[in-house]
């Protein structure tokens, strides 16, 4: 469903991704783990078109000196070079790092904004119901301005908003940060559920143990490169990987 071939991203003099290749098949839940600053977020942004969009926004300055080479295919169609909103409309949706709510809009409006592309009131209602069911707190806070939510609540909102778009492939960047253990447990259960309901997922997570357990396959990104990939057992089998990257 998603195929990344030799993706290289450079910001001015810094190389953030170095010949990264990765594949996500339909219905899979793929994990992506790695240390801080490895380039996980950058990879997600590149796939969803934000890197190129950033280049366009910052053109004419040094910060806009961004190069992106390599190919990205989504459902057989080449998407590197497409603007992010087109990619999002194709069903590849990113739930961004640091949550990024529309801060002055209320929770409900945020969710409505998520459903921007969804046609029909029925579909909207159903998804909204689903999200509220998943995160009851959001319903309680529906009228609150989203910037004033607590960290965890914002995280839930970000996830809910991403789900509102009815994605085909959902990329989630660090969904569990800031969630209490209770909610976090539930969240992972839900993610698994969502995945089983037919939404393919690419999951970036810091909780390596959980991720590896849930994901069919996982990639390890370090130093801007994919250093290893495989099923949990395969990765765990390699002693160096286990110690230096997974800490298990």
């Amino acid at each position: 469903m998603l195929e990344v071939k030799n993706l290289t991203v450079c910001y001015d003099t810094a190389m953030l991704l170095n010949e990264v290749s990765l594949k996500v098949n339909r219905g899979e839940l793929v994990g992506l783990v790695g240390p801080n600053g490895a380039g996980k977020t950058t990879l997600m942004r590149a796939i969803s078109g934000l890197v190129l969009w950033e280049r366009q926004m910052k053109r004419g300055t040094r910060a806009g000196n961004i190069t992106l080479t390599g190919e990205v295919y989504f459902q057989g169609q080449r998407i590197d070079g497409l603007p992010p909103h087109r990619i999002a409309r194709m069903g590849l949706v990113l739930c961004p790092e640091r949550r990024r709510p529309f801060s002055e809009l209320s929770v409900e409006e945020n969710l409505k904004a998520g459903a921007y592309r969804v046609r029909g009131r029925r579909a909207y209602r159903d998804t909204l119901e689903l999200v509220y069911q998943m995160f009851p707190v959001l319903q309680k806070r529906a009228r609150q301005v989203s910037a004033t939510l607590s960290g965890g609540e914002q995280q839930m909102l970000a996830l809910g908003r991403a789900l509102m778009t009815r994605p085909v492939l959902l990329c989630i960047d660090e969904p569990s940060t800031g969630l209490s253990p209770l909610i976090k447990g539930e969240l992972f259960a839900k993610i698994g559920e969502i995945n089983r309901s037919g939404i393919t997922m690419l999951l970036v997570e810091q909780d390596v143990r959980q991720t590896l357990a849930m994901a069919g396959r996982s990639y390890i990104l370090s130093h801007s490169k994919i250093v290893a990939q495989g099923k949990k057992d395969e990765l765990m089998a390699d002693e160096t990987i286990r110690q230096s990257y997974l800490g298990l």
Binding site: C10, D12, T13, A14, M15, L16, N18, P35, N36, G37, A38, G39, G60, T61, R62, S222, H223, S224, S244, Y245, G247
Partner: protein
């Protein structure tokens, strides 16, 4: 002793100035500005040079407040005007000489900085900008209201001249301009400048870092007022007139145009902006009908392609930043002059896990 000192100076000069094309050019430009008047007897050109120097200080002071501290001031002419009026009144009514009236005028501008700064402390971002826009207009209203003292629309004329000849005035302006701009630049380069940067970037974080943002913002208003005030006082004595036009919205806009054209948050950018744009406006007198049109068009077109201003754009062409130590190097170099790292290679940024 002296030789060692001179040698040191030479080494610094070579290392810090000649090594970078931007700095070399700036030095040459300043040198040229200082030498040129000696050969020019044309009072008109002397006048342009003088006013350029005055406006350079004015623009730089705007940059200090707006570019560094982020208090985007749309009414900067207030400081200019307050100082111009104060200097003029002191000179005319009390007969004080310009050496006294200009500093006193600047002091008045500092007060104006406080008067504007205190109410503006609570305001943020665009609210602040638009509020500052109001102050010169309000003051202009007061100028008309108390015309016995301010001369109303006519302003205060007939104040004394700075010096006997245009040439001397020109040199005073140049010296003052060079010293003040350098001073402003030094301020922004110091710890104080760092705090200013911090306040601009994020006031709340600055507070959480233990910075008394209130005091520093006020300080910035006062400092900016001080420098703009010196420019204003000088201007009044040079024109021998302080009128409501020193409070014009368009004068405030000028400072902004100059600075942003040259490059905001750089000080040298604002100075360069004045040095380019002010004489340009005079050169365009050759086309009186479309002068303003050309001027505006130049700004639009230039900024369209150099959104950060002319100077940063230029520096980006002639200088490269070392990816590792962030020192700047002339574009001709292949290795960094400080850390010797290759300038053409891309650095892989990410690091391994084991840290802390």
């Amino acid at each position: 002793m002296i030789r060692v000192w001179l040698l040191r100076l030479y080494r610094d000069f070579k290392g810090d100035i000649l090594a970078l094309p931007g700095r070399t050019l700036a030095c040459l430009a300043v040198l040229a500005l200082f030498i040129a008047p000696l050969f020019i007897r044309d009072t008109y050109i002397l006048r342009i040079i003088t006013l350029t120097a005055v406006y350079a200080v004015f623009a730089a002071s705007w940059d200090l407040l707006s570019g560094y501290v982020g208090q985007l001031n749309l009414g900067h002419a207030l400081f200019f005007g307050v100082a111009a009026y104060t200097s003029a009144m002191l000179n005319l009514h009390l007969g004080l000489p310009p050496v006294l009236t200009i500093p006193l005028g600047a002091l008045a501008a500092v007060m104006a900085g406080l008067v504007v700064g205190i109410p503006c402390l609570r305001l943020k971002g665009q609210y602040l900008s638009l509020a500052t826009l109001a102050f010169p207009i309000i003051l202009k209203g007061l100028v008309y209201l108390f015309k016995e003292y301010t001369g109303g629309e006519l302003g205060i004329s007939g104040i004394s001249r700075l010096a006997g000849s245009r040439l001397v005035e020109c040199y005073i302006a140049l010296a003052l301009g060079a010293v003040l701009c350098f001073l402003i630049w030094k301020i922004t380069d110091s710890n104080l400048g760092l705090i200013f940067h911090a306040i601009r970037e994020d006031e709340i974080t600055a507070r959480a870092s233990g910075i008394n943002t209130t005091a520093y913002k006020l300080l910035a208003f006062c400092l900016s007022g001080l420098f703009a005030g010196i420019a204003g006082g000088f201007f009044a004595h040079y024109m021998r007139l302080a009128g409501p036009f020193t409070l014009d919205v368009l004068l405030s806009f000028q400072a902004i145009i100059w600075t942003i054209f040259g490059g905001i948050t750089t000080i040298y950018g604002s100075v360069a902006g004045v040095i380019i744009l002010f004489p340009l406006m005079e050169i365009l007198r050759a086309f009186p009908e479309i002068r303003m049109l050309l001027f505006a068009a130049v700004i639009v077109i230039v900024l369209r392609f150099m959104p950060e201003g002319v100077v940063p754009w230029f520096l980006d062409r002639v200088e490269k930043e070392c990816p590792r130590c962030k020192e700047r190097n002339a574009f001709t170099r292949t290795r960094c002059r400080v850390c010797r790292v290759s300038l053409s290679e891309r650095e892989v940024r990410a690091r391994t896990t084991t840290r802390a």
